[in-house]
Symmetry: C2
Subunit: 120 residues, 2 copies
């Protein structure tokens, strides 16, 4: 179920490489790699889960309220993270010239279905 | 000089609240608050400098190359960070409904002037 939803996000976005549903503890619920993509998405997710936990705490401490979305752009990759609730986040990795706006939209619009599946 | 450039970014962007030029060690070079904005931009920057350092290391470790930009969106604030070089970053805080695209553009287009001022 989760894989189908992740596939819909990744394949629906130009330049989509990989999708991941993971807990902030670094344990993945499911992941999906687009055809031909090579990525150790689990390792990427584990690194980001630590960073996201810190960012959530920092933003909350600073009176910014709940953190909803974080995006990282590097020379070779763009990663968009949608924070679902207090336990899980959804991440999409894109090529640097991938469709960022569509990726954000697909993450946001799929979040409700994933939360429903999670029973959260 | 730096303050003038920060002011141009913050006041040039709809919903702009604050601008900050800081080292990854958490020491600010300069900052600018828009009229009426209340923000402990230094504390925000110090929290983010730790997170950015970790994100840079993670992205580089994972083969993503140099990290260029990170954006955080929370309920009450959006923060866009432009990583300038190995020492400094430039951050813009916006209202949640501020002009994100213009903010990113202004950070990117001002980066060269700031790097020139920094003598980097």
């Amino acid at each position: 179920m989760f894989r189908e939803l992740l596939k819909k996000i990744v394949d629906g976005c130009e330049g989509g490489l990989a999708g991941l549903l993971m807990g902030y503890d670094g344990i993945a619920v499911d992941s999906y790699l687009s055809e031909g993509a090579q990525s150790d998405i689990q390792s990427v997710g584990m690194e980001f889960s630590v960073i996201l936990t810190q960012a959530r705490n920092a933003v909350s401490l600073l009176g910014g309220g709940a953190l909803r979305e974080v995006a990282f752009k590097s020379e070779k990759m763009t990663v968009i993270v949608r924070l679902l609730n207090d336990e899980y986040f959804l991440a999409l990795a894109l090529e640097p010239d991938g469709n960022y706006g569509k990726g954000r939209y697909l993450l946001r619009s799929t979040a409700a279905s994933i939360l429903a599946e999670l029973g959260a």
